[in-house]
């Protein structure tokens, strides 16, 4: 275990964290605004990957696949929120069960449409090379993932902090009742955030599909990891999601490399401890 090992593992951890940020930030925003434990978030990730595959198969364009998959899933999320979740009102148990019912439906639909085979999303050749930095071979695709997450994180941050709609979202996270009181349409905010969360998860699916693969069951594999990100970072906070994603990405990589038998335990035990001590997460708003 020399320096090279640590550097490569750290790089892998950070790039995996970049992917987790895409999935986790959406989930965190949804939770912050709506207090919904959204168990269909993993399905959005998987559907994003599958839709991207279909776009690639028909048009051959990877670049086109990214926005198409993200937008289709965003519309799906919006429809789900409007038609089913919104009329339910605030009832954590029924909401969580409803989202899981949909997760099962999506699972079956994906199986019917895309079969049960494992697929890979192949990015353009330009991204499959490696670059050499200080004697380390770094896959360019992982660098791209980090860059993508950074750009999206920056856009999200700018929207949340600098725009009027962002301020409305933050107000809703802090105190939804008060926000309604000052005339913010929290129902519309919920709709927007839910579809934004779905969009980000689908984006994660397209981008992550290149190195995780796309296969049935991936939805419920990603889901708890996304929750770990949200909980460690803090619910409803973008910065928290970024730090949570980084911690989980690194913990996952080093855990698997150093003590493989306990690797998932080392991920979820801190998550439970943090929840027990500070339910709003390390960086969550009180």
């Amino acid at each position: 275990m020399n320096t090279q090992f640590w550097l490569v593992q750290a790089f892998n951890g950070i790039s995996y964290g970049a992917l987790l940020f895409l999935v986790g930030s959406g989930l965190s925003l949804i939770f912050g605004v709506m207090r919904i434990v959204n168990l269909s978030h993993g399905s959005y990730f998987l559907l994003g990957g599958y839709i991207a595959l279909s776009v690639i198969w028909t048009t051959g364009s990877w670049l086109l696949a990214i926005p198409v998959a993200a937008l289709v899933v965003a519309v799906l999320g919006m429809a789900m929120e409007r038609v089913f979740l919104q009329p339910l009102g605030f009832d954590p148990l029924r909401q969580v069960l409803l989202t899981v019912g949909f997760a099962f439906l999506f699972q079956q639909a994906a199986l019917d449409i895309w079969s049960g085979n494992n697929f890979d999303i192949n990015p353009p050749d330009a991204l499959t090379r490696s670059i050499v930095v200080g004697g380390l071979y770094l896959p360019l695709y992982r660098v791209f993932m980090i860059g993508m997450a950074a750009v999206i994180g920056l856009i999200l941050w700018l929207v949340m902090e600098k725009t009027r709609i962002g301020a409305a979202v933050r107000a809703t996270v802090d105190d939804a009742q008060m926000a309604r009181g000052v005339g913010i349409d929290t129902s519309r905010i919920s709709m927007l955030i839910f579809s934004l969360g779905a969009l980000l998860a689908a984006l994660g699916g397209v981008i992550g599909g290149a190195f995780l693969g796309i296969y049935p069951g991936l939805d419920f594999e990603m889901l708890p990891i996304a929750f770990a990100v949200v909980i460690i970072g803090g619910m409803g906070s973008l910065g928290g999601a970024a730090i949570g994603a980084l911690i989980v990405g690194l913990a996952d990589n080093f855990g698997k490399a150093l003590f493989p038998e306990l690797s998932y335990f080392t991920l979820y035990a801190p998550m439970a401890l943090i929840l027990a001590v500070k339910p709003t997460g390390l960086f969550g708003r009180e």
Partner: protein
């Protein structure tokens, strides 16, 4: 009080019917019912938390996992629990699962609502992580195959004998849990579910009540796991994965939370759909998903709540008519 007696009689009659009819059917139905009965102990244990205490746990499969893995590991490594010592394994499975619940409860009980969902999810995932990754102990992804069922005077390899064993333990669990929820302790739990603050003000140690309920539920989960291991013949991370916890939750809600027997109704319907319908049509999971979604949207009190809803609707329309008769011009 009277209507309660009638309800108990109906349940006893229904269970007697299961015990008499099922062994005379084919082995497919026997196996299916055995599975549903073994799993429904877990669902009922969850119902103590969900329906009677108001704590929706998303990690109940962890306790089933403890019971199942203890059974499987002892049986395959040490040939333990395959004779009369099976009952020791039952006791051990219950105790270890209860002990795990005692540890997890310390972390989880303080949380409420959404946070309780999340923390139990995290704790359940801890156990899943161990089951999935601790290859040398749990066999990892492949799980552990149990080669034989216990033999002590009776041979549990026989489907009908095994069915009766599971049925007996199921009925005993139901009786114990029913006694628990009807006891003063159970009434205090219901009080906590309705309004915890009021119970606190009345001087109840609500934390301790919830903690004990959590441990009891864990113990029954362990029993369910011991039976499940021998029912399925294989124990794998599938048994402790998040979706198994979710299944238990959905079965409880489908049957009707806060009714205990709703658990067995939910379990029979879901296992029936999953294992019978799946042999008939490829799109069975749509039916399952639709059943879940429709139950949650239109039947929040579950199937057991239907008679009550009908009665209330009748009463409501009756009173509407009465109002119309008294004050026809009021609107």
């Amino acid at each position: 009080m009277r209507s309660q007696h009638i309800k108990v009689l109906i349940v006893v009659a229904a269970l007697a019917a299961i015990a008499i009819i099922v062994p005379n059917t084919n082995s497919f139905v026997i196996l299916l019912t055995t599975r549903a009965l073994a799993f429904s102990i877990l669902v009922m244990s969850l119902d103590i938390l969900l329906g009677y205490t108001g704590l929706p746990s998303l990690g109940q499969a962890a306790y089933l996992g403890v019971g199942a893995y203890v059974t499987a590991i002892l049986a395959t490594r040490y040939q333990f629990g395959l004779g009369y010592d099976f009952w020791l394994v039952v006791a051990l499975g219950i105790l270890l699962a209860a002990a795990l619940a005692a540890i997890f409860g310390l972390l989880a009980i303080r949380a409420t609502g959404v946070y309780f969902l999340m923390i139990t999810l995290a704790l359940g995932q801890c156990i899943w992580g161990l089951a999935y990754r601790w290859n040398s102990l749990t066999g990892g992804d492949n799980g552990i195959n149990l080669r034989a069922r216990p033999k002590f005077g009776i041979d549990l390899a026989d489907e009908v004998t095994f069915f009766y064993l599971v049925f007996g333990l199921f009925a005993l669990s139901l009786l114990l849990m029913y006694t628990l929820v009807r006891s003063p302790f159970g009434q205090s739990l219901a009080g906590i579910r309705e309004r915890e603050l009021r119970m606190k003000i009345l001087g109840y140690n609500t934390w301790l009540h919830k903690y004990i309920a959590f441990i009891v539920a864990g113990g029954f989960g362990g029993l369910s796991g011991v039976l499940w291991a021998h029912t399925a013949g294989i124990v794998s991370p599938e048994n402790v994965v998040l979706t198994t916890s979710v299944d238990a939750l959905l079965m409880a809600v489908l049957g009707g939370a806060g009714t205990l027997v709703g658990g067995i109704i939910g379990a029979i319907i879901v296992f029936g759909l999953r294992e019978y319908l799946s042999t008939l049509v490829p799109w069975w999971q749509y039916v399952l998903g639709a059943v879940y979604v429709l139950t949650i949207l239109y039947l929040p009190t579950g199937l057991m709540g239907i008679p009550e809803r009908i009665r209330r609707r009748r009463a409501l329309s009756g009173s509407r008519k009465a109002i119309k008769n008294i004050a026809p011009a009021a609107s």
